[in-house]
């Protein structure tokens, strides 16, 4: 019985703790209760173990490079894809100098994009990245940056292919 009571109490507290306005209404400052989990576990996981960090040969005709920046935070992100003759993305690499959310967004994007075709990759929306990583509203621009980066990489690849055909 005690166990059950404490469980329901705990869940009540949890649901209250999530709502900051509730805390303030109770006269509690957020600092009084430890609201430490600002980043979702998926962000932390990607941040601590980033996938596909590195570079591909940017002069290779099968490699598309996207380089984008977010001036609001001074972040810079490079995303590269390698496409085979069937239009399938076989490899993806990134390098990001910025906050945890930007790193996690680009890491997730490289993982997601691998094995997709170029046309499928174009459909990646920042909302999907934000949803996967549970990014808070103030960090949504990080996922937009990752979307911009993959778009830039794909368009770089397409431009390279077109100029290749002409030759």
């Amino acid at each position: 019985m005690d166990q059950i009571a404490s469980c329901s109490l705990q869940s009540k507290i949890n649901s209250m703790a999530l709502n900051t306005s509730n805390l303030l209404r109770l006269g509690l400052r957020p600092s009084r209760i430890c609201l430490t989990a600002f980043y979702h576990k998926n962000v932390i996981e990607h941040y601590e173990n980033p996938r596909n960090v590195g570079s591909l040969d940017k002069d290779d005709k099968n490699v598309g490079t996207g380089l984008v920046g977010a001036p609001a935070c001074g972040d810079v992100m490079k995303l590269q894809i390698k496409v085979d003759e069937n239009g399938k993305i076989v490899d993806a690499k990134f390098k990001t100098f910025g906050c945890g959310s930007a790193i996690a967004s680009s890491s997730y994007t490289t993982e997601w994009v691998k094995g997709k075709t170029v046309d499928e990759a174009l459909k990646l929306k920042n909302t999907a990245i934000a949803k996967e990583l549970s990014l808070p509203p103030v960090k949504l621009h990080c996922s937009m940056l990752a979307e911009d980066a993959i778009k830039a990489a794909l368009s770089d690849y397409k431009i390279k292919q077109q100029s290749n055909k002409k030759e």
Binding site: L9, L24, L26, G27, P71, K78, G98
Partner: protein, 263 residues
Amino acid sequence: MYIVCIIFFYEMAQNFTKTTRRLVSSIANLNKSPYHNFRVLNGYHQTNFRNPTFVTPKRWQTNVCWRCGAHEGSPTQVFCEKCNVIQRPHELENYFKLFGLEERFDIEQQVLRNKFRQLQSLLHPDKFSNKTEEEQAISADYSSLLNKAYGTLHVPLRRAEHLLKLKGETIGESQSVDDPEFLIEIMTLNEEASVEEVGKDVGKLKKLNKKNNEQLERVSREIDLCFKSNDIEKAKENIIKFKYYTSLSSRINGTLRDLGESD
């Protein structure tokens, strides 16, 4: 777990009673001091300066003493000339005006510091411990506004952004960098300074830091010139560059600190 819950709940209940008591007392004081009430209800005293919904009686908006109703002399007056009571700040948005400084990027740090210290020595809450609650509240808010303003003006990047905001421009979140060459440069510089590249080579890091500091100086001169010639678009571009060099600088200094070198 159960005990923890009880302790937590007890604390919460205590806080709740405290808040209710505060609410009741503040409602009772409503006619006497709406300013003070707002402060209590809100919890965070900084907010009442910025909250546009806060109803300000007419007499507060003009240069009239809130206590005795006497007209004040200069708008930078901190105390009423007649009754010598602390006045609310006349300027909330423009931090240059708050300190009585000219709106420019290349301010003298020494002058700013002196102004800040001089004002804090007059307005610090410690000086108001024997005064009325209302005066204490004004002093606390004024003092924290001064801290915020000083924190903004004495850091070059924040000062530049504040100046940009006063000119009606901001660097938005959805904005992107249109200068690909600059992005390549920043990417290369960041790669050069990354831990994988430099390892434990302190000398190399220091060299990169020196080079970066020169860039920071160059760009800040540019920003100053842009503001002086009122070229706001160009100023914004340079502030963005300044931001990138600043983050690079903090990255390099972070690595240096990790290697046991103080900056």
